[in-house]
Amino acid sequence: MKPGKSTCKYLKEIRRKIAEENGIALYMPECTHQGPCAGTCPQCEHEVMQLETELARRSTLGKAATIAGIAVTLATPAAAQVKDCDNSHKVNAQTATAAPNINLQDTIRVQGLVPRRTIVPDTIFALRGKIIDEKTEEEIPFVNVTIRDKEGKILTGTQSDLSGEFTFKTLPQGATQIVFKFVGYTPTEVPLLDNEENHLPITIKMKQSSSNLIIDEIIETRMFGILEPAILDDFGQTFEKDGVKVKVIY
């Protein structure tokens, strides 16, 4: 089994054990992804968030959580995590030690969306979720998140944090939709519903709007080994790089 897959399997077992020890009914579909795996993906991250949310909820109700050390005895995957280096050497596979410069956003694509939460009118409950880019699956911070009534009137609002996450401790009466807005992305509206699993976090995928700047070309330089991207707009015109934040270069 490849390192990424074995890591994923191990972490999944930890999640399963935490859920079992704490009596949490956690939906954990089997991963059918074929191909390279970084050891985690949006579905895996979603399961962790579900566990965190449920354990936090139980903590507010005075219920103790069983977590510490419960996975210490689980068999760990093989330690052979050899990383190819840019320099002229590699570490022996028996004792890999290097600090790899891994892109935290390297994940696999997950088919399908996480379940939507539903509400019944006049019910007040907490809402929590994460906002990611539909294409890159990167978290998007500082997204404007507003709760609105059926007429579209804003009842309350917040902003996603550096991890792309947002929370509402309570929801006002009459809340029927949640709207997500951020520069460069198409505004996203999600109806609010309700069911018994109303503490499950949601994942929102926002789509970049068509008027975005496109990184269309990379011009490689040999000065200090730094790649200088050329940023072009939809019409092929070059933009100055000052003030433009380049998050990902593929």
């Binding site: 962790v48 002229s88 570490v91 030690t97 490689e220």
Partner: protein, 212 residues
């Protein structure tokens, strides 16, 4: 207070000690090891993201359950983490005692940094390179007087159970016999946890620039 990081690596299993760990690698190092695995820590720090202790805590906190369930936590490396003791101290105040904090260091720093970190971090992984001063200087460009003094100091402050010494076999710089001598010397100081490994030189093709 912000610090530049050359990388954050999640889901490291049994690499930085027990449990699931996240490695947070600082920019900047006083050494210039010929085969440094993270040579980007010598680059201009402006090209790397900087985080405050609060931002880093938020970033790595997604793996909180794994840390607690497996006895893991965060390993600070780099670069040289003992140049950022104030940062690590502030981070510890945020994460409390639930997460294990491990330091991966060369110990080639002023003594006060070692004294300060001893009460903050749980475990230490020390890459000693070689105890022979000539070999050490040839490989790193610095002398190792501080290293051995700091190791003695750390043993006094922390005991030997929480210290692991890494001894690399470095082609063209030391030999297996040199490594044996290093281990023998350090065992006499009371250390019992060692990680012996070997660098393997790999030939690389010259990278020719493409015509633009």
């Amino acid at each position: 207070m912000k610090a530049p990081f050359i990388g954050i690596s999640r889901h490291r299993i049994s690499i930085d000690g027990e449990g699931v760990t996240t490695l947070a690698a600082f920019h900047g190092c006083p050494l210039r090891c010929k085969y440094c695995l993270n040579a980007q820590c010598f680059d201009n720090e402006e090209r790397f993201p900087s985080y405050s202790p609060e931002e880093l805590y938020q970033k790595v906190g997604i793996d909180n359950l794994y840390f607690i369930a497996t006895g893991g936590g965060v390993c600070f490396g780099g670069g040289e983490p003992l140049l950022r003791v104030d940062f690590i101290k502030a981070f510890r105040q945020l994460c409390g005692q639930d997460w294990k904090l491990t330091i991966e260091t060369s110990l080639n720093v002023p003594a006060q940094h070692v004294e300060a970190i001893a009460t903050i971090a749980d475990d230490f992984i020390i890459d000693i390179k070689d105890t022979n001063p000539a070999i050490y200087h040839a490989y790193t460009g610095r002398n190792n007087a501080l290293v051995m003094d700091n190791l003695s100091r750390l043993i006094q402050l922390k005991g030997t159970d929480h210290i692991t010494i890494r001894i690399p076999l470095i082609p063209n710089y030391n030999t297996a016999a040199d490594c044996d001598l290093s281990e023998q010397l350090i065992r006499q100081m009371g250390i019992t946890h060692f990680d012996r490994f070997e660098y393997v030189i790999r030939e690389t093709k010259p990278h020719l620039p493409e015509c633009l």
